[in-house]
Symmetry: C2
Subunit: 329 residues, 2 copies
């Protein structure tokens, strides 16, 4: 659960998060032992539950009366969490990652083949669960979003080792692969509360900008974080030749000799290449630049929800946005 | 398209198959060049279009008047084809296969990472397309079916190298991974024609049994086929330690010394292990046994649709069923 954010309205959504836990397990339950074991292992990957939290907070922020949220919100929250976990499992395959949430990844424990299939199983269950709702609107939005997520991942993969990657393409990639699902979480949370278009739009913008900031910070952590604190394999962007914002900024602004040094380090095959890249980047102004960009996104996220009435819920959304850039290295 | 079957009613569905081609390409079209190139390459994997053909034939067999089929049928046919192609792409990753429909597989051409993501993109588009239908019924059925398909693939993967695999578990695996989607194609084709429950059930049984026979024959081809005729990488079941019906039957019925020989060949690491296994199995009675099992499934498929009125469509379904076991080695 979210631990660092001010718990203002978070205790209000605890029962909903428990309902997500239950529905997640129920939807994935299988009479095949070996499948049940895998899906049980997967539950430990669910950490902060950022997306479900945002579904519920958006639902509460958008509702027109004090009625509790309904089963539609719980279903949507479980669906977005399931989609998210599916992408984590496939990401770990693509990154050859060994650690996720302080535990072994599925690929590390059971091989790439099982991990590919388990990711497929989760995405299938996500759509299956979503198709149980009365209307097709959420299914359509989820399908559209996962299209975008896959295109983002393909674009990122396509640009591995492309040292000329622009900031614009980087933002396009992280919008698609990360921010789009967070945006959809907020939108659908508001939609399920029968919100008007302006409210849905405001919360969607909030989710998108929070998502952008979240990914920029995640990419900073991949360079500067300590694996013990962050709890997952780090340095994978460097390892896989995926340029992130600090590297793009460094390549665009550093002196030619420094620029050349970074490229040759990124291209080197030595075992200490990750450490060498880190040592070059961490003291550079490019890290600060990226952190500032993340902060600007947070400011935009908060500005977007200024049209909502002042409330405990809105304050919690603001606190959550700040929390994103305050994540520990 | 289906070439060997008697073309009785197949010319009637040609326009619908063209509509599937168009919708397939339209749904997958992307403004990202590298994505568009990949999805265009994928179109060449679409060969016989067995599942779309069965959607349309079931739709025609089940309709209550001579009205042409509607866009719902075309959408469903495109969705099941897209699901099928997605599973092919991920299967090829799991099998390290290099050849598919006489061309290079995605993993062989672009690496496992791109192939995993492209499979994800296709399955996402399948659900997205399906969620555009008026009702959730088809989405729900597709989601339920892909859950089953993934469980089948996981079970198959889990049982690699399990020389004690039973015939019952083998049938469960091939029902899940292959027959379930073909069954759903027939059911949804009939459902979209407003068929009554008995007709949906009959066509569903037809699809299931045809699907079972299809996979048994596919597994026979993996042992006895010539790569040039079949057009895809063969011997992968032996390579990956996946027992199929002839091997299971051989292990259950052959003399102990032959049984031990097969296991030691399957477990050997030599480059000629595939050829050695083939030479042991091909002349054995176990190949005939498997072919007979496939034939019995075909007989059951044909029996199931005897409740339908006699018609050109029904005859085409019968011919198609026979065609499955007549596939060339």
């Amino acid at each position: 659960m979210v631990t660092l954010a001010d718990p203002l309205a978070l205790q209000d959504i605890e029962p909903y998060l428990t309902a997500v836990d239950d529905l997640f397990a129920r939807e994935l339950s299988s009479d095949l032992d070996h499948v049940q074991k895998l899906t049980t292992h997967v539950e430990r990957f669910r950490g902060k539950m950022l997306r479900p939290v945002l579904v519920f907070l958006s639902g509460l922020a958008a509702r027109k009366n004090a009625q509790p949220l309904g089963t539609t919100h719980v279903t949507i929250a479980t669906v977005v969490e399931m989609v998210h976990v599916a992408t984590l499992i496939h990401d770990d395959v693509l990154d050859n990652a060994e650690i996720r949430r302080r535990g072994a990844t599925v690929n590390h424990l059971h091989g790439n083949e099982t991990a590919v299939l388990l990711g497929d199983l989760l995405i299938s269950h996500a759509y299956h669960l979503c198709s149980g709702l009365d209307s097709q609107i959420a299914s359509r939005a989820i399908g559209r979003t996962t299209n975008i997520v896959c295109e983002g991942e393909l674009t990122q993969n396509f640009n591995r080792g492309n040292w000329a990657l622009t900031e614009a393409t980087y933002y396009d990639i992280i919008y698609r692969k990360t921010a789009s699902l967070i945006e959809t979480s907020c939108r659908l949370g508001a939609w399920a509360s029968d919100a008007d278009a302006a409210t849905i739009e405001a919360l969607g913008t909030y989710g998108r900008e929070v998502g952008m900031a979240f990914q920029i910070v995640d990419d900073l952590l991949d360079i500067a974080g300590r694996q013990k604190t962050v709890g997952k394999s780090l340095g994978t962007d460097i390892e896989k030749g995926k340029l992130t914002l600090p590297m793009i900024h460094f390549l665009a602004t550093a002196a030619p000799s420094h620029r050349q040094l970074l490229i040759s380090l990124l291209e080197s095959e030595t075992s200490d290449r990750i450490d060498n890249v880190r040592q070059l980047l961490i003291p550079s102004a490019s890290m600060r630049y990226a952190r500032n960009q993340a902060q600007q996104r947070i400011d935009q996220a908060i500005a977007a929800i200024s049209i909502l009435a002042e409330s405990k819920i809105r304050q919690t959304l603001i606190n959550m946005a700040h929390f994103v850039t305050a994540r520990e290295l």
